[in-house]
Point group: C2
Chain length 149, copies 2
């Protein structure tokens, strides 16, 4: 019987053992086949999927969004259109996240630089990391409301 046990997958992917059961319950992964004793046996593809989930979660995607991401594939049955729309939206989100993180990194670098030169600052410089969400500026039309499928 080829396959990986729960703890093996968990170790390789850096997730908690229990999360695997949770992802199964949430239907992010298919229920893996079992050994005669009832032990789950994960395939290599399962492990890849789980690694992906772990990373995407770490980047702030919800499980629902991750499910969407994983369903993004070019399917013979459907036209590409819905996939394209979703992929482009995700791309925009990812792009914004990168910009925000770069901004944060820049701020951290400045802080580190000051620290190395022992320049004292009592205010918290990192708070000004995000130009995009600075309050006091009215957002025009940029409604960040709940995103639907």
């Amino acid at each position: 019987m080829e396959g990986l046990t729960r703890s093996e997958v968990a170790k390789q992917c850096g997730v908690n053992i229990e999360s695997l059961r949770y992802y199964e319950k949430r239907r992010l992964i298919d229920p893996p086949p079992r050994t005669p004793a009832g032990y789950r046996m994960y395939s290599r593809e399962d492990a890849v999927k789980i690694g992906f989930i772990k990373n995407a979660r770490n980047l702030g995607f919800t499980l629902n969004e991750i499910n969407d991401l994983m369903k993004l594939r070019v399917d013979r049955k459907k036209s590409c259109d819905s996939v394209l729309v979703k992929a482009r939206n995700k791309r925009k989100e990812v792009d914004q996240k990168i910009r925000d993180l770069k901004s944060m990194r820049k701020t951290l670098d400045q802080l580190i630089g000051k620290c190395e030169k022992s320049v004292l600052t009592n205010d918290c410089p990192i708070l000004s990391s995000f130009e995009s969400a600075k309050p006091g500026k009215k957002l025009q039309g940029g409604d960040h409301g709940p995103q639907k499928d």
Copy 2:
């Protein structure tokens, strides 16, 4: 009485009204002063802080991590050393997140490209987004266990 009400801050920062109470309970923000009737009145700095929290959450930081980030400042009282260590660690985390997101963006671009050309395929290209977490490769010594402060 100068200040912003709960709903004003929530609107400006793009957070749910109720989150403000939660952040107060979790001590990420100081309890704001109240009007005679007991209404919370947030300062501009509160709003900046809340906007920061919102963004950092969106990037996958936990509230505890965000609290750490907000406490990063060069203080007369303490030596810079601990700040330096923390800032550098955060920088590393941020850097890794950027790398992961870039990898994801690349995959999305490939998917979009395929989709635009209507190249039909049934496997899910997005799963290969994260080279950094590819299972099947033994991590040597790189224990990604729980990160401590």
